[in-house]
Amino acid sequence: MKTWLKVVCVVFLFYSVIGGLLLPVPRLAIVNETIRGLYYHVPMWFGMVTMFAFSVYHSVVYLRKPSFGTDIKSQLYANVGVMLGMLGIFTGMIWANYTWGSPWHGDPKQNGAAIALLVYFAYFILRGSVENEEQKARLSAVYNVFAFVTMIPLIFVIPRMTSSMHPGNGGNPGFNMYDLDSQMRLVFYPACIGWILLGFWIANLRIRIKLIEETLLETSNEK
């Protein structure tokens, strides 16, 4: 990863954490000050979806042209995606506790997100239960593509058709809430970019560690 991207990531994250707490926000009924949760909750999902998309992209590349590196990449991007998704669920639960009255409210989008995480847990279990390296890579790539394609209706389509308490559902236009105040965008967009970049950064480091470990293992085997 380029150094300037790392700098941008760190600066944006600091800016969004500090600015998210200090800058003025619109007063809305019920939501009140908890609207600041937007800066910390929504970017997690953006990051998660980006990570999963990259993981699937590498799976497709693997299926077309098998290589060890792409398999590792798809695994680790999924890994970081799951981490961001769990953070997203927990921040959402904190927010929901204050605005909806309880951490788990059975909201369609909440359930959809939980199921999406279950899909990826199943993906890791699949990876754990196949011994042959090449077969493991191929099977998990197939499952990754299949799961991602069936996950899309779950997160993006079904919640929009049923009534949900998230904005952008039940016929509400998606980002209407933010349009109320362009001030919020000043923090929200940098926060999204910052978290996505952080995800890439972590995934990148872990991929490099894994590749180095593998080459070390190979050289020690040759000896």
């Binding site: 999406a116 199943a122 279990i125 239960s129 790539a141 593509v145 799961a147 058709m161």
Partner: protein
């Protein structure tokens, strides 16, 4: 390809024990529900939930054996004589027939032992068929994946449930509309969405299966 479908059906009919096992499983669970609810009639919401859960489990059990039960020799033989695309299609068609037969039978058993809250039978049957198609396409591919791994039966359940849920949620919703006696036009959105998920699942299984089969 038709020969492959015929082979599946004839094997199924020849080994009556597995088919009979699934049927008995269905009968047993429905009867158990009947007794567990104290021989009373069910209210529509629990009817709906129980019907789909039993349906899901019998589908998973019957489709799981499509690859997991295959012997190593048969696999190699099929690999040498047929294209992977025609194998997956024939398995999907066969499983679709099996699943829809099972779900219709389950419906009949539910009417017999419990009650029939469905007011719009045609819409309900259409939902049953669409759901069976969705179950058979996704479960066939997943059974192919899990047959290659260790402890494949547990893996099959773990892999399939999260993927199946989106199909199941939609069909539960349509069934609820059927139970409430709403006009069929209310459920068209869901029906279209269900068919499009089926199309996606079918296309993806068709494309991805050759990669599993090669190993």
């Amino acid at each position: 390809m038709f020969a492959l479908i015929k082979k599946e059906i004839s094997i199924e009919l020849r080994t009556k024990s597995s088919l009979a096992g699934v049927l008995l499983y269905l009968l047993g669970t429905v009867f158990l529900t009947y007794i567990a609810f104290g021989l009373k009639k069910l209210d529509p919401i629990s009817w709906n939930a129980l019907f789909w859960i039993i349906n899901l489990f019998s589908a998973v059990n019957s489709v799981a054996k499509s690859f997991i039960g295959e012997k190593k020799g048969t696999e190699i033989y099929l690999y040498s004589i047929a294209k992977p695309e025609s194998i997956i299609l024939s398995k999907i068609i066969y499983n679709f027939l099996l699943c829809s037969a099972l779900s219709i039978l389950g419906f009949v058993l539910f009417i017999l032992f419990l009650n029939n809250p469905i007011s719009d039978i045609i819409l309900f049957l259409a939902t049953l068929l669409l759901t069976s198609l969705g179950f058979s396409t996704s479960l066939t591919l997943l059974s192919g994946i899990s047959s290659k791994a260790n402890n494949s039966h547990i893996l099959m359940a773990v892999l399939s449930f999260p993927v199946i849920i989106s199909i199941l949620l939609l069909s539960i919703k349509i069934t609820k509309n059927c139970v409430d006696g709403l006009d069929p036009s209310v459920s068209y959105d869901e029906l279209i969405l269900l068919s499009s998920i089926n199309c996606i699942a079918l296309a993806v299984s068709y494309i991805l299966f050759p990669y599993i089969w090669r190993s």
